[in-house]
Symmetry: C2
Subunit: 288 residues, 2 copies
């Protein structure tokens, strides 16, 4: 049993934290949205009134917020997890915040806090099943690795915090571009007078196959019925992070640039909070 | 046993025609490159001195050339397959020439020639195994379907020639963009100081998975040793065809536009005849 402070109960954070509760750990959570804390308590978790309170009696500080600003606030703010806390603690960062930010975090943490970089991929369903892909870097204790294995399949891609984030950037290039490619391809079918469902069910069995074509393509064809598994806004954020990091390294990334614009167009058209498969509605709007 | 005239013994045409020879059919082939005809004869096929000669005594005319110009020449040229031929024949078009061109072909064929639209996907390896994805349209005779099944898995996506081509356009959007995304993602890993092979072997097990990431990504990481399975020039051609057809239907396709430019840059840098996985060399050149 590990005592864990969990910061961030969003679409991914909530099922991940609930899974650790179900695994018998003492998980004390904080989120800026009190309703999410109530739901977590109903699921057997413990509530904290601030990140500082969550971290006070915990061995592990798990961070699953969405943006660097949120992470700054949760860690270094007035009632942040590191505001009053002293003594050894391990910080596991599950968020996608980019290699540059995580390297800067590593340099700012007090000495007794060990940092493990552990961004994840796989979506809400796999978060609940504990089968996430975890792109980890750092120097883990054996108990850290055990904890990660309760959430999914950790691959250690480097010894430095930030290396996990770098591989997550690679992952998001592919995921974001594949979703946008599915939207572009299936709306092309519609523009050519071909049923998108028939085209989808044909090409996904060949060289065009991808996880995203199967998963998001199905939702593009069948509709989401308003359900949001992963929001358009996540890819607006993550693809901009990729562009920033690619730019720093001097690498032109024309496909990511085009995909970022498509997700941004979707957001500008009011779809930021909708399921990312609804990106196809941008193309369908152009066909009307 | 069907007597088949086969036009075009390129990277895909040669193994497909050889497979029908192995299936016991009488296959008489023509190609503009005499060396390819010699290789086909060595594999048990018959040689023709012209498309007209190949078609003279055949029930089925199979077309697997690369471009509309080549198809015009092979079918309607001075010694084209339809120059002197009269009487019933079935024409099976395996080439990727776009819906517009195939609809025009349908309207120009003499009445006793039935047209089956049957573009394929899956690459050279699957062509040899007889496991191609075949996106067919038209009104097939039972023996046409049997013939297609010797080459792969035919899905009938419509009754009109051109519908198969439309689904092939959808397929090529995904295949072309997925290859370019793999190149962009793996070179991003390199720009961030992460080993591309490690990043590849990590992300391909998650939501970033695609057939092209597995297949071409491996060749990007391990190298091609000069072997060409499918050339850069194929995607230059096919993505331009997609752009033309999308434009006609009024659909903006920013990802295809970006991917077409990347393959065109590769071609301009002398890689037109190289394996399409070498697209990553364009990005690597930018990192030097």
């Amino acid at each position: 049993v590990t005592s864990i402070a969990w910061l961030g109960l969003g679409a991914m954070g909530a099922p991940m934290a609930a899974r650790l509760v179900a695994g018998g750990h003492e998980v004390t959570a904080y989120d800026v949205d009190a309703a999410r804390i109530d739901q977590f308590v109903a699921a057997g978790g413990r509530a904290a009134a601030s990140p500082a309170q969550a971290a006070a009696a915990s061995d592990v500080l798990a961070v699953m917020v969405a943006t660097p600003d949120q992470a700054e606030q949760a860690l270094f703010g007035a009632d942040g997890a590191l505001a009053t806390r002293s003594g050894p603690m391990r910080c596991i960062l599950f968020s996608t915040l980019g290699p540059a930010w995580v390297r800067s975090l590593a340099s700012r943490l007090p000495a007794p806090v060990g940092l493990l970089d552990a961004p994840v991929s796989g979506g809400v369903a796999r978060a609940g099943e504990g089968t996430l892909l975890i792109m980890a870097s750092g120097t883990p204790l054996p108990e850290d690795e055990e904890l990660l294995r309760e959430l999914g399949d950790p691959t250690f891609v480097g010894e430095k915090p930030g290396d996990g984030q770098a591989v997550k950037m690679v992952n998001q290039v592919l995921c974001g571009v594949h979703i946008a490619a599915a939207a572009e391809a299936l709306s092309l079918a519609e523009s050519l007078g071909i049923d998108a469902g028939l085209a989808w069910d044909t090409v996904r069995r060949g060289a065009a196959a991808s996880f995203m074509l199967d998963d998001r393509g199905r939702r593009m064809v069948e509709g989401t019925q308003g359900e949001v598994r992963s929001a358009v806004s996540i890819f607006v954020k993550d693809l901009r992070l990729v562009l920033d990091n690619a730019r720093t390294g001097g690498l032109p990334t024309p496909l990511v640039a085009a995909a970022e614009q498509l997700f941004s167009i979707a957001a500008a058209q009011g779809l930021a909070g909708r399921d990312d498969s609804e990106l196809i509605e941008v193309f369908r709007g152009w066909l009307r």
